[in-house]
Symmetry: C2
Subunit: 269 residues, 2 copies
Amino acid sequence: MRTAFYISDGTAITSEVFGHALLSLFPTEFEHQTISFVETIEKANETKAKINKATARSKELTLVFHTFVNNDIREIIDSCDGIIFNFLEHFVEPLEKKLNMKAKPKAHRTHSIHENSYDYRIEAVNYALANDDGSVVTNYEDADVILVGVSRSGKTPSSLYLALQYGIKAANYPFTDDDMDELKLPEFLKPHKKKLFGLTIDAQRLIDIREGRMSNSKYSSARQCKMEVREVEKLYKKEKIPYINTTKFSVEEITAKILNETGLQRYKY
Amino acid sequence: MRTAFYISDGTAITSEVFGHALLSLFPTEFEHQTISFVETIEKANETKAKINKATARSKELTLVFHTFVNNDIREIIDSCDGIIFNFLEHFVEPLEKKLNMKAKPKAHRTHSIHENSYDYRIEAVNYALANDDGSVVTNYEDADVILVGVSRSGKTPSSLYLALQYGIKAANYPFTDDDMDELKLPEFLKPHKKKLFGLTIDAQRLIDIREGRMSNSKYSSARQCKMEVREVEKLYKKEKIPYINTTKFSVEEITAKILNETGLQRYKY
């Protein structure tokens, strides 16, 4: 199997996203290897040796995705026995012309603590954890958005992703069995109705997820799951709460859709 | 100010990473706008109108980063009043030649629920939350890694990032005031010593963070913070626990360094 290397003087997240997007177009498998923080000539030489070894082992040229801006290190990596993909290189010159401005390469440009949004993100993570699962219902004043839905419809991972990736403060509140009899919006949510965003999920998927956690329980029974989903969807419609069905979507897709529908301000780009 | 658009038929995360990496090389500011889930001709035309409006408003050509693989939609976007950057387009043909294989473009290739790793990631998030902050110390058998450190040294955001991004199950355990007198490794951590990874932080940064949470307390005092940092670092050295100082690093950088040092297996690429 051919190996793909993702290399950078920082986290290598950009190289990974770049390489992954490109390789995902090809109907074949690759071995993946990330080497981050290649910040010295010595580390660059070590990395080159690893690439050459992978090429020798598989007898196929290794693919190398990198984003180096330091010339000394770049030259070492570019001289390896691999096929080099450096998307920055190709696009920098045309962009310089369009912007009428020279690029000023420096290391750790992205995914570092020096991004303006960093403190927002950590604060948002703390907020999401402190206001997860309806544990506290008195801090909604500070929320950017409050996700609501039945247990296991995707609220917690979505809240955390909104915080970590975008610096958005997302609380979440679960509608539980006790609420379900003629489900109404709890009093403490009413003043924050404009911040509410509903998640729903297909009953069968909900049954499967809950069975994995608590099998043969009322909680995971078809009757209960169907009733809960029916009740919350009725509530969303009645109260005009925007909502999405998360069944077929990843956390990344759910949060992108929430951003789309709400126009929430992001603190990180 | 010039606007940069990030557009895709999916989450647009790839376009954002691509555009952000490129723009970060230039010493100027941009307005950012993401338009995700451009999946229909109608939405493509709406998007084109938005781009044209932005160009008309700022009197400078808008920058458009996209990764469309559907030709009908791509042609509409490519015909807008903007400067188009499509990194897939440039690299697909050379890669086809090298792999001796045609690309098979399909939508939602990345960041979707169909990635094999998806269930791992959600399970890992649940694990991280259930085993955060030493709340439970009986589940360490299932951990891939256990982060240890003083309160506010970065354990929780790092655990969550490891889970969400990489599908790695990270528990975390805080050394607290009660442990500090002749700090020893708690008995329940000893059987899992190989999974331990330590975080430390400069005392001044710790003071600043704790002051923000509980000002003028013993918890945030210089004396306490210095003592705690000194004690944990002594413990890491004595017990040969690998550790890093998180003071100058983002969550992305901390977790990339943890992966580097431990060689932990990732479930997502």
